[in-house]
Symmetry: C2
Subunit: 247 residues, 2 copies
């Protein structure tokens, strides 16, 4: 023993994001017990004796969310207020996660909520009704800034972080389903959803795509994607490691 102090509980909480119906969305679970029974909150788990925080996040992804493949995650911030959990002293290390497709989460206890772009201070969260497989129930019911614990605060910080990282990292590519074949239009659609505002189409195609190319993150495949309108150049993501990342 190094000290006699009572040790705190340490957990990880995950802010799992995806773009659904052109809207940035977060994955929440309804609490079935006190405290905050009935409220939605972030998925989380205790850190075990023989795992790192990253390990706990991986276990959380695999066990509670049943996501097996390699999911992008990064540490957000640690929250250590004494009474952030009314039961016991619990310190939580928050992580951001990104998946390209909401259907990857198949477990019934997780629900997606779109984050309404306009309100940055206190978000409006609209539930995604999974019966209709993707359709939004915009004006039906929504929970606004009423997550359990300090998860509202976490959500706000996470969204701010995601948005600023659009500028200087390759995080947007984590939202793509097929990183080996995508168009400028599709990428822009994800980009706008995360940013919560429009980006000029012409400039995005010319400059943004070109910036990615110059940083060695993507390259043109040479083939085009046909559909409505003029065929679009397709690109492939090749920057496997953390290029273009400032910090």
């Amino acid at each position: 023993m190094l000290t006699d102090y009572k040790h705190p509980y340490v957990t990880v909480d995950l802010l799992l994001f995806s773009v659904i119906n052109e809207k940035l969305s977060v994955c929440l679970t309804k609490r079935d017990q006190e405290p905050f029974e009935g409220s939605f909150s972030l998925p989380g788990t205790f850190i075990h004796e023989n795992e790192s925080a990253e390990g706990a996040v991986e276990r959380l992804l695999s066990d509670k969310l049943e996501l097996k493949s390699n999911i992008y995650t990064e540490q957000l911030q640690t929250f250590s207020e004494i009474n952030r959990d009314p039961r016991e002293r619990v310190i939580s290390i928050a992580y951001i996660g990104v998946i390209p497709n909401e259907h990857m989460v198949k477990v019934p206890w997780m629900k997606w909520f779109s984050i309404t772009p306009s309100n940055v201070g206190s978000f409006k969260l609209c539930p995604l009704t999974n019966e209709t497989d993707g359709a939004m129930d915009e004006e039906e019911s929504f929970i606004s800034t009423n997550l359990g614990f300090d998860h509202d605060k976490m959500l706000k910080i996470a969204v701010d972080r995601l948005r600023s990282k659009l500028e200087y990292t390759d995080i947007i590519f984590k939202f793509l389903e097929d990183t080996k074949n995508f168009t400028s239009g599709l990428l822009r659609q994800k980009y706008q959803a995360v940013l919560g505002m429009e980006v000029n189409r012409g400039n995005f195609t010319k400059y943004q795509m070109n910036t990615y190319i110059e940083h060695g993150l993507i390259k043109k495949t040479g083939s085009v994607s046909i559909g409505r309108g003029r065929p679009a150049d397709t690109y492939s993501y090749i920057g496997g490691d953390g290029l273009w990342i400032k910090y």
Copy 2:
């Protein structure tokens, strides 16, 4: 009890910075016991039962460093590798701290080390001999990337963070001794020390100072500072809260 898992120890570690002799410097302590006996490492402390991580940092500043006044601190990152402490499972929340003057730390067990600008990957740390009160013993002895635990890693991340925050926050003003009366030249000297490279003088005076003014962080006092050379306009820092901060 929420779970039966054995709880980890949780500590805070502090990366306390200051600019000494126009060089960014960090405050370290020599370990007098195993593990890493004889190595230098960051000051740290266990988080007590009834305090937050921020509270533990404050206690660390006040008890171990005997710094009583309001010190600027911010959370850096949490380190949770299983074997980062060879004795026990210890999770550490790292904090950055900034003080304007190395003489504020009067306790004999803390030593300052300048961070040589050139090497970013693995720093060269030069001890500041406090007998000569500020003179550097450049070529005498230095410890290069040999701090205890994972503190090298923390240092690198912290310096990177400090440098990028120069661009979009008001963190440089935390390095000033007198925030109510300073010149463009003095601020630039601190700025260059943190950044580890030169910044054009004319542009700094014109654009950088003006940017601060436009963001409401500083204003001209109206009086000048005399000395060698042309008298310099003096400025006063007024942005008490976190203005201009992106995230």
